[in-house]
């Protein structure tokens, strides 16, 4: 359903003096495939390129190179008709619902505008479609006349989801859909997304920095680090048998453990995607880094069916890594 081949996106930076123009290598050679009806979880820290990849898939960002197809449609160079067709195929749910809705339009107007733009139905039919869409996400008729300022984050995220599903897309991409929400609201929205996915047989990409969210939502997980996919596996394989040191560090950081005042090791942070490290991009933080890792970029190798790892030393990786 979604196929990304060696996608690259470099954002040029402003030139400084006579130095060569620098680029942010936001996505640097990513290939990914999502089968119809599958949910792919995309995890990684800020700056790893998750959101840029989502925007490339939706044709919102034109990749520097690479091929991207969504339901057979090339999204790298869309024009008007192609863009409208893609909008009916794939939709996006953003992190901050308050930023995703026009603050001056009522929810009813915002949703009707989508149908009007695609010239679907008569005025009465549009009104009926919008009401039933809101009802499907658990918002009753009173919400039609509310503006975003009158709604809570959870209610508004429901409206955003309803709007995304108005055109009956096959693909739904969720970019951190619950990270701005409280725990109880998060659980409700995730329940809603799982129900909608079942009922509409949606293909989904679930972007999150929270491994717990990915664990309940995704069937397959891809881990990104500095613009590259470093590991991809079926969900259970990833959570129980991860082989990339970065994935293990993420899993370790997500495991609650008493901190007992052991001495601080100092700030260790992801290097900049402007000048990514040579060789393996994780080597400056990796406890296993050897000479080869500092010079040669490891390829993504399939270590068992459906489980790919980008690490020279995956055979020697311990069960737990802390960075």
């Amino acid at each position: 359903m979604i196929s990304v081949e060696d996608a690259v996106k470099h954002f040029p930076l402003a030139r400084r003096g006579l130095r060569r123009r620098e680029h942010v290598r936001s996505v640097d050679g990513v290939s990914a495939h999502v089968a119809p009806g599958e949910v792919l979880g995309l995890v990684g820290e800020s700056g790893s390129g998750k959101s840029t990849l989502a925007r490339i898939i939706l044709g919102l960002v034109r990749p520097t190179s690479g091929r991207v197809r969504v339901d057979g449609l090339d999204t790298t160079c869309l024009t008007g008709p192609g863009r409208r067709q893609l909008a009916r195929t794939a939709q996006l749910v953003f992190q901050d619902p308050h930023a995703a809705m026009d603050p001056r339009m009522t929810l009813g107007e915002s949703l009707t505008a989508v149908l009007a733009q695609h010239r679907i139905g008569t005025r009465e039919e549009r009104a009926a479609t919008v009401s039933s869409a809101l009802e499907e996400v658990g918002l009753d008729g009173t919400y039609l006349d509310k503006v975003p300022g009158e709604c809570s984050g959870g209610q508004l995220q429901r409206a955003v989801i309803a709007r995304a599903l108005l055109l009956a897309p096959k693909v739904l991409i969720c970019d951190e859909p619950t990270s701005a929400l409280d725990a109880s609201v998060q659980a409700r929205i995730l329940n809603l997304l799982r129900r909608l996915r079942r009922e509409h047989q949606l293909t989904m990409v679930m972007i999150s920095h929270d491994l717990r969210v990915v664990r309940v939502m995704a069937e397959r997980v891809a881990v990104m680090y500095l613009g590259q996919i470093v590991e991809t596996a079926a969900r259970d394989d990833l959570f129980t048998g991860a082989r990339h040191p970065y994935t293990l560090a993420l899993l370790d950081a997500a495991t609650p453990r008493r901190v007992t005042g052991e001495p601080d090791t100092g700030a260790v942070e992801p290097p900049s995607p402007i000048n990514p490290p040579a060789g393996c991009r994780f080597h400056p933080r990796c406890p296993l880094a050897a000479d080869q890792c500092r010079t040669v970029m490891p390829p993504l190798v399939e270590i068992e069916p459906g489980h790919e790892v980008r690490c020279h030393r995956w055979r020697e990786v311990p069960v737990s890594v802390q960075v």
Partner: protein, 272 residues
């Protein structure tokens, strides 16, 4: 060392905090957990009297190290904030002054509370920055907030807080805006500094996982009240209040028998 009894904050007729009582012992970490709007930050800001004027604060007791925070004069409060009480916030980069260097901001409490000269403060700043694990501290002291990553900025905030030699550190969601691996580092750092300096910590968070790793005791807040309070193991393993149980279940994204994620229902909000 901090005692708050029956703290009430109201805006007109609406009670935002309703009878909050808590104590923090010397060297103890008390965590306030709850969802947004439950009154966690309001409680902390009442302690340092940083609430906007229309809010009316009332309590039977509110003392810090023997100082009565209800009646203390503004000049006294000014020596307490940034001095005896240090504060970390959720968005460190926004809390730093964008027009002053890191060094100047860490130096300010040194000059104000510890009477250092400009020259002494300059060296002390570099030591403090090194002490909170910032690489190349001398270079970082000359940097501005926008040049820092979130993790480094939070370390700078901690250095500025520690410069006043605080007895109490208020940490209001200090790792919420940070990446997971950086979050783990900052938690280790706060725990290390607490152990080293013997401060008490009032740790505010919505994330039970974070709280489990650092707190000695937990107070669970809902709608302006503390619904349950106790040692970490008791709250997390044997919670008594239905709201605490529900909050734990949905924070961990637990699923019920039919595979649905657990959510909080109105039933959970009634007293046990």
């Amino acid at each position: 060392m901090l005692t708050v009894e029956h703290l009430t904050v109201s805006a007109g007729d609406v009670a935002l905090l309703d009878g909050v009582s808590l104590t923090i012992a010397e060297g103890e970490v008390l965590a306030l957990v709850g969802e947004s709007g439950s009154g966690k930050s309001l409680t902390a800001m009442s302690v340092v009297r940083l609430l906007p004027r229309p809010l009316v604060v009332d309590a039977t007791t509110m003392t810090l190290d023997g100082v009565d925070l209800l009646t203390a004069s503004e000049p006294t409060m000014n020596t307490i904030r940034g001095g005896r009480v240090g504060v970390l916030f959720q968005q460190p980069k926004r809390m730093l002054d964008p027009t002053a260097t890191v060094g100047a901001q860490v130096a300010e409490p040194l000059r104000r509370f510890r009477g250092m000269s400009r020259h002494e403060a300059r060296d002390a700043v570099v030591d403090l920055l090194r002490d909170v694990g910032i690489p190349e501290p001398a270079r970082r002291a000359r940097a501005y907030a926008h040049q820092l990553s979130g993790g480094i900025a939070q370390r700078v905030m901690l250095a500025a807080a520690l410069a006043g030699q605080p007895r109490l550190l208020i940490a209001d969601e200090p790792t919420t805006a940070l990446d997971a691996t950086v979050e783990a580092q900052i938690l280790r750092l706060i725990a290390a500094k607490k152990a080293e300096l013997g401060m008490s910590v009032l740790f505010i968070s919505h994330d039970l996982g974070v709280v489990a790793s650092i707190a000695d005791r937990i107070a669970v807040m809902y709608a302006g009240r503390i619904v349950e309070q106790g040692p970490v193991s008791q709250i997390l393993e044997a919670p008594e209040h239905p709201y605490t149980r529900a909050l734990i279940a949905c924070s961990l994204l637990r699923q019920n028998d039919s595979g649905e994620l657990y959510t909080i229902s109105d039933r959970d909000l009634e007293p046990a």
